[in-house]
């Protein structure tokens, strides 16, 4: 990879653009080719798959300057999977195959999720050097230092406000533009912020909130509007508790598009017969929406709400970029990072555990909802 980039840097800048785009398209095309190929039965496809399993990882490893062992490992895995694939066509060794195919995912899950969870929990009961058991001291610290409770409460505020407001905004927007002329255009307008990273969005909004002294030119949009209307510039990011709301607005701005797209698709799937039947029964527009549309899109609403709830529980980039937690705007994820980089791994882990406990109910609820939907089908 680095060799490719170095070679690229020697080219004139105008040539680099088509090369980069070409490489990108080639990779995307290759991925689509194999995705398309995967479900097809037959020996020819098996062979192509097998070659891909070996050659692709090998190629990657060679390009990435990685370790010799990785090459052997990838080749071994490819052959193993090919062998399982081959056996399965003869209907032999069902359990054997199951274990064989699941084990890579299982190993990754254990190494990437279960072990770290246990490690973090253990660390949250240790001191900052991780060499002494301190019991609940780190948790007591979180809930007794002046800003600790505030940090947790801010996180709760995020999780209450951001999902509700962005879902309501997205739903309203989806309903109003439904079947209107230029619907796609309106959708794109609101969906566009989704394409901006949280850090990018935060920088944009930090400029929008910027305040300059009254006698200087304002560079922030909001304060310019306030000054034009004869007001005094406001330090949006410093006036507590409104600064937390100013930060939440950024997440809402980003997530409304997501809510709108999912809910718009759900609204389109509402059976037209039910709406017509309700209309014949004399239901007005609001009654049709509340009694027909809403129950029909309930499962989508749950998905949207829980997804945004989880996003707002672990919000970090927005707070870090805009205030770094100053002026009582800190949230758990930001404190987690701050403590970690100050070598307070125990306190950092304790924050992580608190966050984990807060996310759990939402994740469990979401999983149960998805299960219920499967049963209905």
């Amino acid at each position: 990879m680095s060799a490719f980039l170095q070679w690229l840097s020697t080219l004139p800048s105008l040539v680099q653009v088509p090369v980069v785009i070409g490489a990108f398209l080639a990779v995307v095309g290759l991925l689509l080719f194999f995705i398309e190929l995967a479900p097809r039965p037959g020996r020819k496809y098996t062979i192509i798959r097998m070659v891909a399993c070996v050659i692709l990882p090998l190629g990657m490893v060679a390009i990435l300057d990685s370790y010799t062992w990785a090459i052997i490992g990838a080749g071994f895995l490819g052959l193993l999977l090919f062998w399982f694939d081959n056996r399965s066509r003869h209907g032999a060794g069902h359990l054997f195959q199951l274990v064989g195919f699941l084990s890579p995912a299982a190993i990754l899950l254990v190494a990437g999720l279960i072990v770290p969870t246990i490690q973090t929990t253990a660390q949250s009961f240790m001191n900052s050097r991780g060499d002494q058991f301190v019991g609940l001291e780190n948790f007591i610290w979180i809930f007794t230092q002046p800003q600790g409770v505030r940090t947790v409460l801010n996180t709760v505020a995020w999780v209450l406000l951001a999902p509700a407001l962005s879902t309501i905004a997205g739903l309203a927007y989806a309903v109003f533009i439904d079947k209107s002329r230029g619907e796609n255009f309106f959708k794109i307008l609101v969906f566009m912020p989704m394409a901006i990273s949280f850090v990018g969005a935060s920088i944009i909004w930090r400029f929008i909130y910027t305040a300059r002294p009254a006698d200087q030119d304002q560079i922030g949009l909001f304060n310019q509007l306030i000054v034009w209307m004869g007001g005094e510039p406001v330090q949006f990011l410093q006036v507590e508790p409104w600064n937390t709301l100013a930060l939440i607005a950024v997440l809402i701005w980003v997530q409304t598009g997501f809510a709108m797209v999912i809910l718009s698709a759900a609204i389109k799937a509402v059976p037209i017969e039910q709406l017509e039947a309700a209309e014949l029964d004399g239901a007005n527009a609001w009654q049709r929406f509340a009694n027909v549309t809403l129950p029909n899109i309930r499962s989508s609403l749950v998905v949207v709400l829980t997804t945004i709830s989880i996003a707002s529980l672990k919000v970090f980039d927005i707070v870090r970029t805009m205030t770094a937690g100053a002026n009582d705007t800190s949230v758990i994820a930001n404190e987690m990072y701050t403590q970690f980089r100050n070598f307070e791994s125990g306190r950092s882990a304790a924050f992580a555990v608190v966050l984990f406990l807060m996310v759990m109910p939402i994740v469990i609820y979401n999983a149960r909802q998805i299960n219920k939907q499967r049963e209905l089908r």
Partner: protein, 447 residues
């Protein structure tokens, strides 16, 4: 299953196996660090071998260019390629990079406390013999102590700055007949007088500094703790013997607050008290040069910012400075800062660079370029050309001067580069002093 099919399968396996072996064999050096590969291209293992040393620090922009210039000749002579990288998020990033296994070869720590954090956790290498010898011959015991953690020397001081200067316009003072104050009460009286004469805020302040926002505020508090309560309280405060919640520390906050939290006294050219947090510390030079602001508290390095803003520095020039006076006007107490170079690697090339940076040769080479000081004994005072730096040298060399290193830089990172900075921001923003002091104290490490 037909025999031919089986055969083909085996052939395929064999072909793949050969491919694996061939690729793994021809891979040769994948995974070998780039430094070694580039070294391998040079001839043999002679001292002319060219190698790369990475240095990471907070010194940025124009200052970084001077830094690179200061070692350019030496690096060329010794055929060592020094790559300097700067970041205003150094304090955050160095810990993350060290813990993530992506540390630079050398790091220039502006905070001995942070150096101590990394040293006691085993990330840093103890100073090699050559560096230790240079430290022993070049620096006083006080300065050597800043690079020493639990009895082991980890690095040599690099540059030094004297803090606690109050910047003002000599011309304006002469015109209006204002006098340089000699006591802290005199500073407050002068402030009131200027406010009455000009009808606008005399002081300007800017605490903005990215992730490090708030540090200029800690300098205010440190200066006042040293001047109001003396060096013993100051030393105990650094060691957490005197807590932030102690009345003596609270008194320093309140004295500083008489200026910083009074909307009539700040923030000249920028608006209300809260604008202190939103103003970048370097931007203040602009209003100071323009004359919107009459008084500003900042370390000796600020002369570089004034020059950048188009002003001149000198006793009869646009802007000049006096040391913030002590409580009773007797003797002078100053706080100061400096950098310590710590090493994450003990590669011979890295050791060579570290030794050079610890030498008087380097100190002279850098100070000659202007803008900074070094506390190295081998420094030729004639090399300090800037009038302010000459003044700073005089302050440092005066036997009556009580010198103390910046307290927040000596405290552990979780306080010095954490809760103290954040506490200053909250305090300026209007939080209650007791609540802020509690919050800062709670940042002290658990063990």
């Amino acid at each position: 299953m037909s025999r031919s099919r089986h055969g083909r399968f085996i052939a395929l396996m064999a072909a793949a196996g050969v491919a694996v072996l061939a690729l793994s064999g021809c891979g040769g050096g994948p995974g070998v660090p780039a430094a070694t590969t580039s070294a391998g291209t040079a001839t043999g293992g002679t001292p002319t071998e060219k190698s790369e040393v990475t240095i990471y620090g907070t010194i940025a922009d124009a200052e970084a260019k001077l830094l690179e210039q200061s070692w350019a000749d030496w690096a060329k002579e010794n055929n060592i390629d020094i790559k300097y990288e700067s970041s205003k998020e150094f304090e955050t990033q160095i810990a993350v990079r060290a813990q993530g296994g992506n540390a630079p070869d050398l790091a220039i720590f502006p905070q001995p406390g942070l150096l101590g954090d990394l040293a006691t956790r085993g990330f840093l290498k103890p100073a090699p013999a050559g560096v230790a010898a240079n430290v022993a011959s070049g620096w006083s015991d006080d300065w050597a102590a800043y690079g020493t953690v639990k009895g082991t020397l980890y690095g040599a001081p690099l540059m030094a700055s004297v803090k606690g200067w109050v910047w003002y316009s000599p011309k304006e003072f002469k015109e209006k007949g204002w006098e340089i104050p000699t006591t802290w009460q005199g500073v407050l009286d002068l402030t009131a007088k200027i406010e009455a004469d000009k009808g606008k805020a005399p002081w300007c302040a800017g605490f903005g500094s990215g992730d490090a926002t708030g540090w200029p505020g800690t300098d205010w508090v440190e200066d006042l703790v040293l001047r109001e309560s003396g060096k013993d309280v100051y030393d105990q405060w650094v060691a957490n013997g005197v807590k932030f919640t102690d009345p003596q520390i609270k008194a320093a906050f309140e004295e500083a607050g008489k200026i910083l939290k009074n909307p009539k006294y700040v923030n000249a050219g920028y608006g209300d008290v809260a604008s202190i947090n939103a103003t970048a510390f370097g931007d203040v030079a602009n209003v100071l040069v323009k004359g919107d602001c009459s008084l500003h508290h900042q370390a000796s390095f600020f002369s570089g910012f004034i020059t950048d803003a188009g002003g001149t520095v000198g006793p009869d020039a646009d802007v000049w400075a006096f040391i913030l006076p002590s409580k009773d006007g007797k003797g002078s107490s100053v706080t100061g800062g400096g950098e310590i170079v710590g090493a994450f690697s003990d590669d011979p090339a890295v050791v060579k660079v570290q030794e050079y940076l610890a030498s008087a040769d380097w100190a002279n080479s850098r100070v000659k370029l202007g803008g900074v000081l070094s506390a190295n004994k081998g420094l030729d005072p004639a090399n300090a050309s800037d009038p302010l730096l000459k003044e700073a040298v005089a302050v440092l060399q005066d036997p009556n001067t009580t010198f103390r290193f910046d307290a927040s830089d000596l405290m552990p990172g979780s306080v010095g580069a954490g809760s103290f900075w954040k506490g200053m921001v909250d305090w300026i923003n209007g939080s209650d002093t007791d609540a802020v002091l509690n919050q800062i104290e709670s940042g002290w490490p658990s063990s």
